[in-house]
């Protein structure tokens, strides 16, 4: 293995970088209809999460009313939200730093 050769970079413009790198999140909200087993199954099936992680997220939705289930670019989160709607889960998206 070799060390990468240094590359000269332009001084980054902080504002643009911040704008580009601010991640988005997909939030799944609790509803009185969806079964706990089904919600866990969807998180495993769609996101490929291990059963433990899927169950943890499902329990967050159940107890806290909502859970951040994925993080990424705006385009990625739009795909995830659409997929959750396909499965009948109530999902929304927002910037990660939104309270």
């Amino acid at each position: 293995m070799s060390a990468p050769s240094p590359v000269e970079l332009d001084e980054p413009v902080t504002d643009d970088i911040t704008q580009l790198s601010t991640p988005w999140v997909t939030i799944v909200w609790n509803d009185p209809v969806n079964l706990m087993s089904y919600v866990t199954f969807v998180f495993q099936q769609y996101f490929g999460y291990a059963r433990n992680k899927a169950e943890k997220l499902m329990l967050e939705v159940h107890h806290d009313g909502r859970s951040v289930v994925s993080t990424g670019s705006r385009e990625e989160m739009e795909r995830d939200v659409q997929a959750m709607h396909e499965y009948g889960l109530w999902a929304t998206m927002q910037k990660a730093d939104t309270p």
């Binding site: 509803d31 009185p32 099936q45 009948g88 109530w90 999902a91």
Partner: protein, 193 residues
């Protein structure tokens, strides 16, 4: 009444419906398809905005029917414009996908031998591979969301529904809601086991 189990050799999710159950499921799927075609996704609700009237690519507003509003939630709660864009590009596909899922339930039941007018004593065996089972699961979810929204089901209100007299039509609808939930639960377990 029996739920889904996993077939040991093929791994398929299998169950046997009575004629009554299969017919009921077909009727729920047909109602879902009809609902999804109502209040057409491309219809523009009276608007004076030139831009809106000239845009035929997809809906931008939340559906007025509360069931449809629940099936197609607003993606950006804090951003009306982004939500409208999201809806424009996704809602028609979502509607078509959900209608196709419900149609698959009807097709599977009829291919398994469910006639137009089933007689008592008939049993319908169904066997779902993984992909078909997931489509069924999603459609069960849509049916339950539709029934729950119409009934006004809320978190932790089971006692209210079970206390209703048997002849209350809402009790009968709630029984169907529970039954589809039971099918859903057993189908998830058949697939996950």
């Amino acid at each position: 009444m029996s739920g889904f189990t996993r077939h040991r050799k093929s791994g398929a999710a299998v169950t046997t419906f009575t004629a009554f159950e299969a017919d009921l499921l077909r009727s729920l799927a047909a109602q879902l398809i009809e609902l999804l075609r109502n209040e057409s996704a491309t219809e523009q609700i009276a608007s004076d905005e030139l831009e809106d009237m000239l845009d035929f690519t997809g809906p931008t507003r939340e559906p007025e029917d509360p069931v449809l509003a629940r099936l197609f939630p607003t993606a950006y709660p804090e951003d009306e414009e982004a939500s409208a864009e999201f809806r424009r590009y996704t809602e028609s596909d979502l509607r078509n996908g959900k209608a196709a899922g419900a149609a698959m339930i009807i097709d599977t039941l009829e291919e398994a031998g469910l006639p137009a007018e089933p007689e008592d004593g008939l049993f319908i065996d169904v066997e779902l591979d993984q992909a078909t089972a997931i489509t069924w699961m999603r459609s069960f979810t849509d049916m339950r969301l539709a029934i729950a929204t119409r009934l006004g089901i809320e978190e932790g209100d089971e006692d209210f529904w079970y206390a209703l007299p048997d002849d209350d039509p809402r009790a009968q609808v709630h029984d169907i809601y529970d039954w589809v939930g039971y099918l859903q639960e057993t189908l998830v377990h058949a697939l996950a086991s």
